[in-house]
Amino acid sequence: MTFDAKFQRRLTIFVFLIVPVTMLVVFNIYPILQLFWISLTDFNSINWARAKFVGLRNFVDLFTFDRDLLVPMTRSLYYLGSSLVQLVLATWFAVVLNQKLPASRLFRTILFLPFVLNAVAAGLIFRYFLELNGAANDILQLFFGPDFKVTWLDSSEPYSNFSLAAASVWRYLGFNLVVTFGALQSIPQDQYDAARLEGANQWQMFWRITFPTIRLVLFLQFMLSVVGSLEVFEVPMLITRGAGETSTFAITMLEAGFQNRRAGTAAAMAVFMLAIVVIIFGVTRLITRGRSAVRNPL
């Protein structure tokens, strides 16, 4: 029995897709559906047999009885602010490295390395660096004397979030750098040559040529940062265990689900966060609809 070409092509596509799609459904889609279902029950995270359907009560509670569980979302603002700084820095590095300076490849690798590092390793590095008797204070003591100690991390003070946000910037800067650098490659060099002939300086070249071209890429990265700052988890968890003022929404969600055995409430929090992310991406699509990510420069 022979198959015609069209059928063979369809069969090939199907066979190649069956494994990844199955994995997507089993490990991604099914758990998400289960999450929606759990958010409608009072599951205590251990005994599924006794979980009762409670409808939208968990969601209503989240804005009334459990209002305090939403408070840690304000900490995300620290991470969002630092993401803006991160983006600016990454763009600056990308533009500088785009100048074809010697060893620019080496610098790109060095800046990208923290992103490749295992998240736990990166978190622990910063913990040992920022703790009271850690490396940061040791270095400062070389200059300011043996008793000089700055409390970089203090779970009772909101400013600790800046230290944690700095750890986050160190880690993710490389990612923004690589993406922006890639976008910069699409700008033809003759644009800059023409501008230089007409007497433009570096800043004017950036503002008039580079920036308009990569504007959409930067906007997309900003939206990713917004989502990332809502979901921030491993940096505060590894460094201060999410204690006191360094707690975040994701950490509170895990505490509610596993420590306080309120899996229904935790699932409702997760669905709430998912809704926010969907809205953010919806807004992003609206703004970028119809435009390509890198505008045709001519």
């Binding site: 251990i46 265990r241 204690a243």
Partner: protein
């Protein structure tokens, strides 16, 4: 109510070591097959104790194929996940993961073993007349201290009033040690201050009584007084320097070496300092008698002080085990015929085994009044979970709150709302 310690210590003095064969051990002919036992005593797997006990057990029950003892380091977190999936071995351990009314959904009743009558806290993991779990041992919360560090600071008598305790701590601070290692950043070590609230109240049913209280942590209530002591110690700079990054493992070494002079935990922690702590601090041949143990003086009365005592982890059997006879025989063997509880420094849960921890004799000399807390009602567990005021992490976050009084008001408010919902 010293009978717990007095009975235990006098048994030790009288060297009563052989437990009576009053319990109903399963018939050796029925005990066969293999089981899996999940434990949190990873140190006793590493040092071969479990292998030794397995060999002894197999000598008693020749038809046994194998007992697989698997250690889990982060037991509390992992066992909860395992319970939800149904994959939790044959014999395992539990503390407070399962509310009392749901114990029968997960575990096998142990009534026919006949040991519950000779057991401390047998009613802690019981429901509807069935006993589901039996604890390894009993711990009382007190101040564990490094005698050398105290001597170096010029403290010659154990403090018997709170003001004396603070004065002693000031001397320790001046001599360069951390007076009390609270391990604030880890969170869970602060759970001792929950027990302190029960001790201050003097009421074994204190925790259950907070269900009726709309302002449980107000300043004049036992909870409020316990937290006030904690805040006083931290506010006076008498705790460890770094309270924002977790140092539990290091802190064992501090207590061993004297860099940390004391901490407020149970007698289970003493053997951990003497073994793991000494190893971490790089001290070989550590003399455990360098560690002492006295009740926390929480006011100016001079004693005798109330001390909260409670059970440690309990051994339980999976309801769906394929080999219930073997599982029950192994559980009874470990709890009544081995020295596991004594090695770990508990007062063994099985009353016929004497405690061997030498520091308990010192503790007893201060004539503490032991309060054995009553089992928590399912409603209490529910309200604790819903309000979030649930153990050491909640205490840690309260301590770290920028506006303490506002945070107390918030917690009281949520507690009252959760209790109202529960009714």
């Amino acid at each position: 109510m010293n009978r717990l310690l007095a009975a235990g210590v006098s048994l030790a003095v009288m060297s009563l070591a052989v437990p009576a064969m009053a319990q109903n051990m399963p018939d050796p002919a029925n005990v066969k097959g293999k089981i899996v036992n999940y434990v949190h005593f990873t140190n006793y797997i590493d040092d071969g104790s479990y292998d030794r006990w397995e060999a002894e057990f197999k000598a008693m029950y020749p038809n046994v194929e194998d007992i697989e003892v698997l250690g889990i380091a982060d037991f509390a977190a992992q066992i909860a996940t395992r319970l939800a999936t149904g994959d939790y071995g044959d014999v395992l351990e539990t503390s407070d993961q399962v509310p009392a009314d749901e114990l029968g959904d997960f575990f096998l009743p142990l009534n026919d073993l006949g040991i519950a009558e000779d057991y401390y806290f047998a009613d802690r993991w019981a429901f509807d007349g069935n006993v589901y779990g039996l604890t390894f041992g009993v711990s009382a919360d007190g101040i564990v201290y490094n005698k050398e560090a105290f001597k170096k600071a010029g403290i010659d008598a154990v403090p018997t009033k709170f003001s004396e305790l603070k004065a002693a701590y000031e001397k320790l601070k001046a001599s360069g040690s951390y007076p009390i290692v609270l391990n604030v950043a880890d969170g869970w070590p602060l759970t001792s201050f929950e027990g302190l609230a029960t001790a201050i109240s003097g009421d074994p049913n204190f925790m259950n009584s907070t269900l009726e209280d709309d302002t449980p942590i107000a300043a004049d209530k036992p909870w409020g007084k316990s937290i006030a002591i904690l805040r006083d110690l931290i506010g006076s700079g008498l705790a460890e320097e770094d309270q924002s990054t977790a140092h539990w493992q290091d802190s064992k070494g501090w207590l061993a070496s004297g860099k940390g002079a004391s901490w407020f935990l149970g007698n289970w922690s003493i053997s951990q300092i003497a073994t793991e702590g000494a190893q971490i601090a790089g001290l070989s041949g550590y003399d455990a008698n360098n560690l002492g143990y006295f009740p926390l003086p929480y006011d100016e009365s001079g004693g005798p002080y109330n001390v909260s005592s409670g059970p440690d982890w309990a051994m339980v059997i999976n309801k769906n085990t394929a080999n219930p006879e073997l599982a029950k025989a192994w559980l009874a063997f470990i709890l009544t015929k081995t020295d596991l509880a004594q090695k770990a420094g508990f007062i063994p849960g099985y009353k016929k085994l004497p405690p061997t921890l030498p520091q308990l004799a010192e503790f007893q000399s201060y004539k503490p009044n032991l309060i054995e807390g009553t089992p928590p009602l399912p409603a209490l567990t529910s309200v604790r979970n819903a309000s979030g005021w649930n153990g050491g992490n909640a205490i840690r976050d309260l301590i770290n709150a920028p506006d303490y009084d506002a945070a107390v008001a918030d917690i009281n408010g949520k507690w009252a709302a959760s209790a109202a919902r529960e009714r």
